[in-house]
Symmetry: C2
Subunit: 138 residues, 2 copies
């Protein structure tokens, strides 16, 4: 069952505002990762750029969305699953970027394998980005 946008905000101790609800709904409707620019163009009503930046930052801080590094230097944001909480992301799944449609997916079911990194290095987080063609574009 899906948590409503309002509940997500409540659970994070954030006040419920129009803009935050709108941005959360964009994520839920599209069920894919969105960039700042995506949100700007998807929101028909005028959203101030600054508001979007600040809202996304708040969501990241609260564990509502996580960021995805991409090769072309544009940060993507995607909704976190339940496991994430304030200041603590658990998005250890693989991110897939389709070269055809440009969609970034979270592949929740593909786990990150163990890496044997060299002695002396301490591993905190592993990010896996995969490029290829998604099932819709095949």
């Amino acid at each position: 069952m899906k948590t409503s946008s309002t509940e997500i905000l409540k659970n994070s101790g954030l006040s419920i505002t129009d803009k935050r609800l709108k941005i959360l709904e964009l994520f839920q409707k599209n069920s894919k990762a969105l960039s700042h620019a995506d949100i700007e163009s998807l929101s028909e009503k005028h959203f101030d750029r600054v508001t979007i930046y600040r809202t996304l930052q708040t969501f990241v801080d609260k564990g509502i969305v996580h960021t995805i590094p991409t090769a072309d230097n544009s940060i993507m944001y995607a909704l976190c699953k339940e496991a994430c909480s304030e200041g603590h992301h658990h998005d250890n799944h693989v991110h897939f970027l389709c070269e055809e449609c440009g969609t970034t997916y979270c592949l929740e079911n593909v786990n990150i394998p163990e890496l044997n990194i060299p002695k002396g290095f301490t591993l905190h987080q592993t990010n896996v980005l995969v490029n290829g063609v998604c099932k819709n574009c095949k």
Copy 2:
């Protein structure tokens, strides 16, 4: 044995210029990944920003350096090993970002593991980014 900067350029069919040599030497001296901004500040003599952008792009195209996606949305560039050639990068190693000193390393010896991505998805390239603490900062 290390290939000289001049040879690297020759092998790629590029003309030998002061700027290109200087930028290559920065990579060789530092033996870590550099951002555009790093190069700008490391080169004591004035380098035009545009020249740096274009030189890096040329190097990427020719397989001399490869780009590393990072979580904070700044592209890093690192020297390729011999295996890379024009239009064909073989940098399938793990990239490690130290949270203390900010250094990005290419862990040449850590191979990218196989992933079993869902049916319908075709995999072209896998990027693995690891955060943690490097052996110098431990």
